[in-house]
């Protein structure tokens, strides 16, 4: 009798100890720099989170509008303390705070977007947005009548400069006369200034407005003036249905799913990920009704070549604004050159300062 009780008790303890571990959901946390309603950067990340949330055995939660710097460290630390298994921090300025927390919680997996620092339990990731920028540039170059494309730019950092160059190269590929005029706002999200910047480009004759910031106000400016626009981050056509040609968009779902699966299976390793169209991380939003079929076909064809890796965007000969050769004929820019890009290609009007 005593023995049976002991065996039963042992079995019970074992069952209690094992079963929650097997049934325990993986907790995944996301930290966003802006409110998710912005139709921009954080909105796109949150769509990726929703894909993860639908996975079996995973629960997710997020904190939005977390300012970069000390505030973010508190939020990341809090998530780590609460036992989150994977934490995604989706803004550049979260890099150092995340690294600090990552060192204190070796059993938690940390993923940082758009930075460059790594730790044994912290990886980083970004996407080759310039591929989609190139395609959107092709659409803009085909649709412009004035041959002046306006680009409302955020901050002169390699990510933004790379995007402008890719846009210009795409436009020139279909329209050698196309010129891209750049106005820096030095903002990521300031609808008033960004709209004014778009208007200043419209005033110098631009008839397609592209942008890098997260607010849809440049789209609105283009529609009010009756010209075209190219969005960014997510499909912005609801803000300017008559102007919106297309938009280079983020699609974080596949990357987030893969990362969480790797953590579940114990196969995750710390590395710097920079996938592109082949993984579906970046893409083009659906074309607006004003884009002719011929243009759609041309862009779709180029897209398939980029997806298969048959062609790339930054192939020589590429010259900078001053005319000096940056990428020789027959060569392609290396990833390091792309990540440190601080010069404009020919055909871009503006400074990188």
């Amino acid at each position: 009798m005593k023995k049976t009780v002991i065996v039963l008790l042992f079995a019970f303890v074992l069952a209690v100890a094992v079963s929650p571990a097997a049934a325990k959901d993986l907790k995944v946390g996301f930290i966003y720099v802006s409110p998710i309603g912005d139709a921009g950067w954080s909105f796109a990340h949150d769509k990726g989170r929703q894909v993860v949330d639908a996975m079996p055995g995973v629960t997710t939660s997020y904190v939005e509008a977390v300012s970069e710097g000390p505030d973010s460290e508190r939020v990341i630390l809090n998530m780590a303390r609460k036992g989150y298994d994977v934490i995604f921090a989706t803004s550049y300025g979260y890099m150092d705070p995340m690294l600090k927390v990552a060192r204190q919680f070796p059993n938690t997996t940390f993923m940082h977007c758009s930075g460059f620092k790594l730790n044994a339990n912290m990886g980083n990731y970004f996407g080759r947005m310039y591929q989609a920028r190139y395609l959107s540039g092709m659409v803009a170059g085909a649709m412009t009548k004035s041959d002046i494309l306006g680009y409302v730019a955020a901050f002169p950092i390699p990510e933004v400069i790379r995007g402008i160059n890719a846009f210009a190269l795409g436009a020139q590929a279909v329209n050698p006369q196309a010129r891209v005029r750049v106005v820096w706002t030095k903002t990521w999200y300031d609808p008033a200034t960004e709209k004014e910047a778009a208007k200043s480009l419209l005033d110098v004759g631009a008839d397609v407005i592209a942008q890098h910031q997260d607010s849809p106000s440049p789209q609105e400016a283009a529609q009010e003036r009756g010209v075209y626009s190219v969005g960014y981050n997510s499909d912005m056509s609801s803000f300017a249905p008559k102007a919106h040609l297309t938009a280079p968009v983020w699609n974080w779902g596949p990357l987030y799913t893969e990362t969480v699966e790797a953590v579940q299976n114990g196969t995750w390793t710390s590395q710097a990920l920079w996938p592109g169209m082949e993984k579906g991380i970046v893409d083009l939003a659906p074309f607006g009704p004003m884009v002719p079929q011929a243009v759609k076909d041309m862009v779709t064809k180029k897209k398939s070549l980029l997806v298969t890796g048959t062609e790339t965007v930054f192939v020589g000969p590429l010259r900078d604004q001053a005319g000096s050769l940056r990428v020789p004929a027959g060569a392609a820019a290396s990833d390091n050159e792309l990540l440190g890009m601080t010069w404009f290609v020919q055909g871009v009007i503006g400074t990188t300062q």
Binding site: D38, E64, W184, A192, K195, S200, D203, E220, I349, T351
Partner: protein, 306 residues
């Protein structure tokens, strides 16, 4: 720069100067009554949110402007309560108001980020908008801009020629003499604070209803502080406030257009222009100050006496 571009620049100048102008006029009225309100930035933020929400709910941009103004008055009323009711420090109360207003608008406004509301769109005035040069610059704007053309003149006439204007100025220049003459100076200070807050709220509502039509947090982006500086530049005169507001609006619009035209000037330098101008303007204003410009008891509370 072609003449056509110059006209577009001038039109943009007026648009970007308008929210600053409303806020500056509001601060002038408040300060004329002897109360310093440094909460302009916070009141503009709240005005922007209230205007947006009211326009979204009612579908009427006019209701939005009224709501923006009323909520501006409400928040300014907190300043009145602290300074007039409890003899609190005006500088501290104003700064607290900025922090409170900004945070309140961020907190309450976050769920609506990225949404649109019906707003004001340009309404070219008949006949006047066809006048060459002047037409496109002045008469192809939205209703709030036309309102801002009329407001400074009305405020000037009110201050200079009406009995109430005199009472308001008395509250800021010599409240003791006013009180001895039976003028309700505290009442005038309340009026100055509430009317000023109303205009600041409209300045904020302009940003969310006319400047852009998409709600976001942090719309004011420092314009309230520029308004505080402009009051000194304007020597507390509504007419000079117009010059100041358009000067700033012009510099903001101009630096973007310089970039668009392909001027090879680093954008960092161009973006400094409005703020550099603030420093220059304040320096010039204080050099040329002739002592009697500021209301005599500005920022001084009215202590109850036996």
């Amino acid at each position: 720069m072609t003449s056509e571009m110059l006209i577009l620049l001038m039109a943009a100048t007026i648009q970007s100067g308008t929210p600053i102008l409303y806020a500056t006029l509001g601060e002038i009225i408040t300060e004329k009554s002897g109360v310093l309100n440094l909460g302009v930035e916070g009141i503009m933020m709240v005005g922007a949110l209230a205007g947006f929400l009211a326009a979204k709910i009612t579908g009427s941009p006019v209701a939005g402007v009224l709501a923006g103004g009323l909520c501006g008055s409400l928040l300014a009323g907190v300043h009145g309560l602290v300074c007039l009711g409890f003899q609190g420090n005006q500088v501290v109360s104003g700064l607290a108001l900025t922090i409170l207003g900004t945070a309140l608008a961020n907190y309450l406004g976050t769920p609506y980020v990225g949404q649109n509301a019906p707003g004001f769109y340009p309404v070219p005035l008949p006949v006047l908008s066809q006048v060459p040069v002047l037409g496109p610059i002045f008469f192809r704007h939205d209703l709030l801009v036309y309102g801002s053309f009329v407001a400074p003149a009305l405020i000037w006439i009110f201050m200079k020629y009406s009995r109430w204007g005199l009472g308001l100025r008395t509250a800021g220049e010599n409240p003791e003499a006013g009180a001895a003459a039976g003028i309700p100076v505290v009442g005038y200070r309340w009026a100055g604070i509430l009317a000023g807050g109303f205009l600041m709220g409209i300045g904020g509502a302009y940003l969310s209803l006319a400047y852009t039509h998409i709600w976001t947090t942090g719309l004011s982006a420092g314009r309230g502080w520029i308004a505080v500086a402009l009051v000194i530049f304007a020597f507390w005169k509504p007419g000079r406030a117009v010059v100041g507001a358009y000067l700033f609006g012009g510099v903001m619009a101009f630096q973007l257009r310089l970039q668009a035209m392909g001027a090879n000037i680093p954008s960092s330098l161009l973006l400094m222009l409005p703020y550099g101008l603030t420093v220059v303007v304040l320096t010039l204003a204080s050099m040329r100050q002739r002592g009697d410009q500021a209301p005599a008891v500005l920022g001084v509370n009215l202590e109850p006496r036996d």
